[in-house]
Symmetry: C2
Subunit: 405 residues, 2 copies
């Protein structure tokens, strides 16, 4: 059986080509930029006042001048019409364009208005009153042609602001992969329905769709297929139109585990089936190539927790890689176990857990878990403890790796 | 001037009442549950096979029996019709209901089918073959009436799965606060337009809308208001229909800084104006109460980086508190400075920064930053370094607090 690392490597080695999509700036938060965005103009595009005050000549201050004639008032968004020269100042607002000649802005609170605003007197001379004081020079924060937001940037609000300033209202980003989810099993009823005897609700579809959205995919459900070869075939063919197809159920060794056969008939090439993992041992993975387009196909175990763990460990990295983020792998950290955990079996185990921040680091608590079909126990999970080997007791206080959910 | 902590305390002490909203399970990922969700039934609702194999009596194995008669095959979703008794077994699939009498499931690979499937022989006796082996008992993962997902849980995929299993297709969650954004300033043009001389694009609206979405708010833009009292009044009244109104610009001491007056006329009570913070000193905060409904009003400085920092430090916590998350405050961590940072001025400073994971902890790099209007320099920021006092040089390697963006 292959290891978890080998399996992940095999998935990431077979990704389809990434696609570029165009999005409006207002919908771009969270997307990953697929182009370098450069500035068309200097920033700021003109010398600009950083304070409300008076624009004047530093030479006047250096020469000990105490009073100035106020030539005009310049508001942000308006153009100065009067130059500044010896003895002449302009009252100016934050963000407004500096008048010709001026080389510093004295803040309002350091001045006194006289003669009904027609004259201004300086209160005191401060050591900081040098040329450029409270002035942002044209191009100070960036020159035309400079890359402002590089390709690969995940667009947070700060980048959205910078792109808006550049007037970039449309952007090239990496397309979110389209992922289809097909649940299989005669025992399943849609979660809107009351299950009959022996039946259970299809919790996997809503859970997987939620996980996929958390990964950043565009996810859609294909409903429930019953365990019948013809119906499976039709649904699988529909699913192969997506970038990734997840099928839950039907991949272990039961009589009605029809998925591996149905996938083979649909022309999906198997790259692995089964790995050293608990829960999730029967995971099936393959690729389908047609019309110069590739679809990744994951056959997830039908048990909810197995499905969830496999999606987290293998589908998440694939989706993130297709979205162009640099953080492709699992987001892991180290934490101290809150209580002993006794592991039976020898497989590598990813145990549903809840972690919290504590003084001196994080503490993780393995959730009471009745096995791979126990979603109730894992409802509040926010991590998976990565127990690298089974068959031993991990003691309270021991430091373990945790995959963040 | 009040401190950052005092300001935040004042904001959180004046929150409007939280509202409850109903969402469909399929749109609930990321929402915060406003009700305890309990199970209506036991989970699993019946004793259930955890493996494909044979359901039989443990007493038979203990007595050394080697062969059984196979009474029927039970698939998941079907009901067993034959009881199990001494010498009689039932072939059973994962997830299927255990037949009456059976108390363990022997996995398929430990058995041999004989006589065309009519009989089954056990290959070997394993020490683990005790009553309950590979059986999940009715109610093992939870009893009817037990709370499965408590109020206050942020709904991750795992909780969505558990809620689907319970058949909870509609949920009570805390409503996302509605936040309106109004940009003011005669110098602003919409970011779709080419600015004329002295004009700049309104980058604050798209940036603040993106931030608000990151915080979890339902955000909408009210466009640009010019610096004219009548127009401001109309727009402010429209904004007061929201839970939170953000106004950017017009709160410092300039001649056209009309916002404090306009807010007073609109009946908004000022709770603070100005604080010991760089950038963001002129921040204005108040509340408006009418028709038993409260609106929080933030007057943000018009400079983009000031606006961004104030939104992050004060609006984010308010939105998170209204959404019912337990993580109301800033998400901070400690990191080592990558290079010296010389701070002028004596105010507490939140410096745009980029941090990365490194061996032995996180490393943070202060971004080249030309002051509070420099969005370009901060485009790739993913954190804010919290320099608790200005006026000194922080040395490379020094450990600082960082607010995660």
């Amino acid at each position: 059986m292959i290891t978890v690392e080998e399996a992940l490597e095999r998935v990431l080695a077979h990704l389809p080509a990434r696609r570029v999509a165009t999005v409006g700036l207002r919908n771009a938060v969270g997307e990953v930029l697929a182009e370098d965005v450069a500035a068309a103009e200097d920033s700021p595009p003109f010398d600009k006042a950083l304070m409300d005050g008076y624009a004047l000549l530093h030479a006047d201050v250096a020469a000990g001048r105490a009073e100035w004639e106020v030539a005009e008032v310049v508001y942000a968004g308006a153009l100065p019409t009067q130059p500044v020269s010896a003895g002449r100042t302009v009252r100016i607002m934050t963000g407004a364009m500096l008048p010709t000649g001026a080389d510093l802005v004295v803040p309002h609170e350091e001045t006194e208005s006289r003669d009904g605003g027609r004259r201004m007197a300086l209160r005191r001379v401060l050591p900081g009153m040098a040329p450029g004081w409270n002035v942002m020079r044209r191009g100070a924060s960036g020159r035309a042609g400079e890359v402002v937001v590089p390709a690969g940037t995940r667009l947070r609000a700060q980048a959205i602001g910078a792109l808006a300033e550049l007037g970039r209202v449309e952007l090239q980003v990496w397309a979110r992969p389209r992922v289809a989810v097909l649940a299989t099993g005669n025992e399943l009823v849609p979660c809107e329905r009351e299950p009959g005897p022996g039946q259970i609700r299809n919790s996997n579809e809503p859970m997987l769709l939620a996980q996929l959205r958390q990964f950043g995919a565009e996810a859609s459900g294909l409903g429930i297929a019953c365990d019948e070869a013809g119906e499976l075939q039709t649904r699988i063919e529909a699913g192969l139109k997506s970038d990734i197809l997840l099928i839950s159920g039907g991949v272990s060794a039961g009589d009605r585990d029809l998925i591996p056969g149905a996938l083979a008939r649909a022309g999906v090439r198997c790259l692995f089936h089964g790995l050293n993992l608990r829960p999730g041992k029967p995971l099936w993975f393959g690729t389908h190539d047609a019309d110069a387009r590739r679809t990744l196909v994951f056959g997830l175990p039908g048990n909810p927790v197995s499905s969830m763990v496999c999606a987290e460990l293998f589908v998440g990295p694939a989706v993130r890689a297709l979205r162009g983020t640099s953080e492709t792998g699992w987001r892991t950290f180290r934490a101290a176990l809150q209580a002993d955990v006794a592991l039976t079996g020898d497989r590598r185990t990813f145990f549903p857990a809840h972690w919290t921040e504590a003084d001196g680091g994080r503490v993780v608590h393995a959730l009471p878990w009745e096995g791979s079909s126990d979603l109730r126990g894992t409802a509040i999970a926010n991590g998976l403890i990565d127990f690298r080997q089974g068959g031993r007791t991990y003691a309270a206080g021991e430091i373990v790796d945790v995959v963040e959910l």
